[in-house]
């Protein structure tokens, strides 16, 4: 066990924690916007897969991971707006339509990869950026300030989201539409437009999450998200619909995954039991949902389509 507590192992584990928290944080924050406005988007995983594929393919063709990231964001935006058509305009039942979006993304990303790319090739990942000065702090500097750019972006979105939700008119509108759409509507806030906006943000961030995954590992494979998008949705419940809560949840899950990785790398887990340890994130998600389910109040209008004159 002592191998786990050497400085190298601790720095590696904590650095991996931040890296692995990144996709959950991006997707979770995006999902949070939608849910705060009253829309449950279960299609996150599908959008992540599509965003990831287009980021991969663009980077493969242009050798520019930044263009790849941009492609991931663009695909996310398109999917977010389509989700607006489905959930807001067509008022589809959100619990099921999201599964449709997931299957669509799962199938299409796999189809395009097989048809256009074929054999897996590695791409250039986003560069690692050492933050001047801060990276020289012992230990902390080593794991926190020597990350890939997308990781910093994900964490910077937390204070930005807190500000946007709590200090801006847009944020007030989101909360009003999620709690009492009829009242918001009577005060002249467009429920539909607000929800389209939050779903667009959610789509962009889900695309970023998928792109972020691909652009840190440098590879794409069928269903590479392996349930992360769904865990991100659970994190929003776990995080009580608040940016800080989502971040803490993402860090916890990042840490669990990083710890399992590290234990495997140090051969502290027998190979035969690794699959059992891989259950940890999903099992802990369930326990966390049980723990928080009766403590935090979901947005009142969550999953309820709105139409005037009801």
């Amino acid at each position: 066990m002592s191998e786990l507590f050497t400085e190298t192992a601790i720095v590696a584990t904590l650095a991996a924690m931040l890296r692995l928290a990144m996709p959950l944080l991006l997707a979770g924050l995006g999902e949070m916007y939608g849910q705060r406005s009253g829309v449950l988007n279960l299609g996150v995983e599908g959008v992540m897969l599509l965003g990831g594929f287009f980021a991969y393919w663009t980077t493969l063709s242009t050798d520019s991971p930044w263009l790849g990231l941009l492609a991931g964001l663009a695909v996310g935006l398109i999917m977010g707006l389509l989700n607006g058509v489905i959930s807001v305009t067509l008022q589809a039942q959100q619990g099921i339509s999201g599964i449709g979006v997931f299957l669509f993304g799962l199938g299409l990303s796999d189809l395009l990869f097989q048809k256009i790319v074929g054999t897996p090739r590695l791409i250039d990942p986003l560069a690692q950026i050492e933050i001047p000065l801060l990276s020289r702090i012992p230990v902390i500097g080593d794991f926190a300030f020597n990350q890939r750019s997308i990781v910093y972006i994900a964490f910077l979105l937390v204070p930005l989201s807190m500000w946007a939700l709590n200090k801006t008119t847009f944020g007030l509108n989101i909360r009003a539409v999620g709690e009492n759409p009829a009242a918001a509507d009577s005060l002249g806030v467009s429920v539909a437009r607000t929800r389209y906006a939050t779903l667009a943000i959610g789509g962009v961030l889900a695309g970023a999450a998928g792109a972020g995954l691909v652009l840190t590992t440098g590879s794409f494979q069928q269903n590479f998200t392996a349930g992360l998008g769904f865990i991100a949705i659970a994190l929003v419940y776990f995080g009580a619909w608040r940016p800080i809560g989502v971040m803490l949840g993402a860090l916890l899950f990042g840490f669990i995954q990083a710890l399992v990785f590290q234990l495997k790398a140090l051969e502290l887990i027998p190979v035969s039991q690794q699959d059992l340890y891989n259950m940890a994130p999903a099992l802990i998600t369930i326990l966390a949902l049980v723990a928080v389910s009766q403590r935090f109040q979901a947005p009142t209008a969550l999953t309820k389509p709105f139409s005037r004159g009801g």
Binding site: Q91, Q93, G107, K115, Q273
Partner: protein, 374 residues
């Protein structure tokens, strides 16, 4: 209410899923064109592959079996206003229970073993359905999220067992395919026609009929539907709402578990095998069952033909791949579109003045009926 019982209401309920599939296939044709393939050649190959020969039909029936069982299970849950997205995990648990049992009783004769196999499959799935049911009823945990998480847990449990305790003792430990040995012949499903068509499709059809009887001819089924239509009224009427929710997910899971068991013992290799992912064993039937349930208008009997159609799509996807070199993943994407179109179509019906009010079936994770005025 009137729209559900009247003849025109029934027609719409049948027509809308059909239109959704046609629309999805049309978009699929555009995708095929974009990929440089001829959609007519592709679709024709698909139809011929699935329904154009005796062998094709047999394969279609075999592919339809898990879709039917999962789809009927999802229908039962839906009727109680709960959404079961845990078909994948429930199938896996059914397979685990039943494989474990057969490994324990290798020399048992088929007369006893086959009923036990069916029972163990039902039981494994029932357990994996009851857990999210209880979590929803007693802790208020969204069943959508808990069933998805249990899918992930089940997949890892399967990997652990197939790489460890269940592994084929004849394979060398490192890098071997995660699979069991050839399981006891006593547990082989009886063959009905030729060399491939086993009793699985028949069992699935009987299960669909049983589900129909359960929902419309028993008190438990009546309660289940009452809870689904209006939980508050059901509660005032003295019905056990929480127990009905648990029961619905238990039944739902049991049928998916049976699907998993039949998948193992009806397979050509007679082994429980995966590629390390849930879909590697289930072929994503746990998700595709959602499509057959929706296409079957959430009615157990309509789910039978619906499953044959989608089973055919899966079989035909093979032929499509050979004819126009477009990967079978196209079908997964099209299934997703069908789901989206079916659940989006309520709005269109309302706009056309076809229904008076929104049907409160399976609205969301909060059990609550929503009235929408057109």
């Amino acid at each position: 209410m009137t729209s559900r019982t009247s003849a025109s209401g029934r027609l719409q309920r049948t027509l809308i899923p059909v239109i959704a599939v046609v629309a999805a296939l049309a978009l699929g044709a555009i995708m095929l064109l974009a990929l440089g393939a001829n959609p007519l050649t592709g679709y024709w190959a698909m139809i011929k592959g699935a329904f154009g020969s005796g062998n094709g039909l047999i394969e279609t029936a075999l592919k339809a079996t898990p879709l039917m069982l999962v789809g009927v299970g999802i229908t039962i849950a839906f009727r109680a206003n709960v959404i079961n997205i845990g078909g994948e995990g429930q199938m896996i648990l059914g397979a685990i229970f039943t494989t474990g049992l057969v490994l324990l009783l290798p020399d048992m004769s088929g007369f006893i073993l086959i009923p036990l196999v069916i029972l163990a499959g039902l039981l494994g799935g029932a357990l994996w359905g009851a857990i999210p049911g209880a979590l929803k009823a007693y802790f208020g945990v969204s069943e959508i999220l808990s069933t998805i998480m249990l899918n992930l847990v089940a997949a890892q449990l399967m990997n652990y067992l197939l790489r460890g305790p269940f592994i084929d003792p004849n394979s060398n430990e490192l890098g071997a395919i995660p699979q069991t040995e050839r399981l006891s012949e006593g547990a082989d499903l009886p063959i009905l026609i030729g060399s491939r068509l086993h009793a699985g499709p028949l069992i699935a059809i009987l299960a669909a009929i049983a589900a129909y009887v359960l929902l419309w001819r028993t008190t438990a089924g009546y309660r289940l539907r009452a809870v689904g239509l209006n939980p508050d009224a059901a509660r005032y009427g003295g019905m056990p709402v929480k127990r009905s929710i648990v029961l619905a997910l238990t039944f739902s899971g049991a049928l998916a578990g049976l699907a998993g068991a039949l998948l193992v013992f009806g397979s050509e290799s007679h082994r429980f095998v995966t590629d390390g992912s849930a879909a590697g064993f289930t072929g994503s039937a746990g998700f595709n069952g959602i499509v057959t349930a929706l296409f079957g208008a959430l009615h157990p009997l309509w789910t039978i033909p619906s499953s044959f159609l989608f089973g055919g799509l899966l079989v035909g996807a093979n032929s499509l791949q050979r004819a126009v070199q477009v990967p079978q993943a196209l079908i997964v994407a099209l299934n997703g579109l069908v789901v989206v179109f079916v659940v989006s179509s309520d709005w269109i019906r309302q706009r056309l003045g076809l229904v008076e009010a929104h049907q409160p079936e399976g609205n969301d994770d909060e059990v609550e009926a929503v009235e929408v005025v057109p």
